[in-house]
Amino acid sequence: MAVDHRAEVLAATDVGRALTRVAHEIVERNSGVAGLVLVGMQRGGVWIAEEIARCISRFEGQVEVPVGSIDVSMYRDDIALRPVVPAAVTDIPVDITGNTVVLVDDVLYTGRTVRAALDALLDHGRPRAVQLAVLVDRGHRELPIRPDFVGKNIPTHLSDEVDASMTGVYVISAPIEQAAGKKAVS
């Protein structure tokens, strides 16, 4: 049967709870919100950065944490290996020099996008520190990159796809290819 298997691992409410906890952890780790800047990675990380900022202003009172977005296409290591097309234009509304930047993405996988994002970010200034928050860590790192804040650790197969949005997190696996792959290995 060539049917994709789509499993829900986080429902919409779980996503909300996970991000609320991540928001608390960010404030706790940094002893407040002074000098904090959230930067969402285009595209998947942008709504998460905005959601975390909303959570923070909900429980910290009238504080506004600046939120930016960053496109990392021009810094990727696979340009010309596959078509790399930028998403939306980078927009970092404050000077990040001397501030603590929390990079935010939806799914952490190989770590290559985060590597590119670090280079992209450092072209905009010299932050005091950079931390990494992700909604899902699916494993399979190819670079020494470690997240500081994780919504949910989800073990996955290499051939799986992870679909993360406000409405939930799903793991999509292709059973046919998986079966064929297992045979080839054994």
Partner: protein, 314 residues
């Protein structure tokens, strides 16, 4: 997209994606350190068989902002003077490892010919009277972003004034503006319209006064004195009187009308006011945008992967 030879060969989707990519390049160009590592290790050779200041420097700046290496071929001090053929020149440069050629030549079709002699990408930086696609791209970006109208020029009228016949800028722009939905009016004496204009999707008038108050964009072409091999206009003075942007005509322009010129300016011929005094002038903006538009083209032709997207590479 491997080459950019003319606007004609682009689909509207390709044109608008180049314009959107230019927005990214504008952001990069506006940074304190306007440089990204995207094209590290690539080599861009500019091969100009015709004089140019802004286009050549614009391409070289664009290549450097994307971290590509640049080579400049200067025809005046090259082996072309010892009789080396165009083909041998290109093959020699290719052998040194060139990934993209930026070519300008006085003969139409030379960039296309060069694609047959090299595996590298070829970008047309102006060939004879034929095409100047990056100029059209930067003009479209300048106009659409000035109006804040996305990539849509429908309902807007662009007047292209002057020597259409000898103008590759006009040929590329007529196509590009119409692709984005604009209405194009050519304002020129019959002697400066090419015979093929009757097949173009344009209207023509023979005096600037007929349209100056109704248009959204006034695009002035340079009188190309170096290409004038016949008496096509009685005198430059008479040309200015009928087609030049005089202070009187400048006052008749609509409040939000834009004035563009591909440069270099022939002050006193096609433009008789100081562009600095024109609120709608985008002439320097065109030059600024030019670098970003060429970054967009270089990135597009040099980053096109041969491997299909793998997906799931978060």
């Amino acid at each position: 997209m491997k080459h950019l030879l003319s606007i004609e060969e682009l689909t509207t989707a390709q044109l608008t994606s180049l314009l959107d990519l230019t927005d990214h390049m504008v952001e990069i160009s506006g940074r304190a350190v306007p440089k990204v590592p995207a094209l590290r290790g690539r080599t861009v050779a500019s091969v100009f068989f015709e004089d140019s200041t802004r286009t050549r420097l614009s391409f070289e700046t664009a290549a450097k902002r994307l971290s590509a290496d640049t080579m400049t071929f200067n025809v005046g001090t090259s082996s072309v003077n010892k009789g080396e053929s165009l083909r041998d020149t290109i093959e020699t440069l290719s052998a040194m490892g060139v990934d993209a050629f930026v070519v300008r030549h006085k003969w139409s079709g030379v960039p296309h010919m060069i694609t047959e002699w090299t595996d590298a990408s070829v970008i047309n930086a102006g060939d004879g009277w034929h095409q100047h696609p990056t100029q059209a791209l930067l003009d479209c970006h300048t106009i659409t972003r000035s109006f804040g109208c996305g990539n849509d020029l429908s309902g807007r009228t662009v007047a292209i004034v002057g020597d259409v016949k000898h103008s590759r800028v006009a040929r590329s722009n007529i196509k590009a503006f119409t692709m984005l939905g604009a209405e194009v009016v050519l304002v020129a004496p019959r002697t400066l319209l090419p015979p093929e204009f009757i097949d173009w999707p344009v209207r023509t008038v023979d005096a600037l006064d007929d349209v100056v108050g109704d248009i959204d964009v006034l695009y002035l072409l340079r009188m190309q004195r170096e290409r004038m091999d016949a008496a096509l206009v009685p005198s430059l003075g008479e040309y200015s009187a009928r087609f030049g942007l005089t202070p009187h005509r400048a006052r008749q322009l609509k409040q939000d009308a834009l004035v563009l010129h591909a440069g270099p300016l022939n002050r006193g011929v096609e433009i008789l006011v100081d562009p600095a005094d024109l609120p709608g002038s985008r002439i320097l903006e065109q030059v600024r945008t030019g670098v970003s538009a060429r970054m967009s083209v270089l990135y597009t032709v040099l980053s096109g992967g041969s491997v299909p997207p793998t997906g799931g590479a978060e």
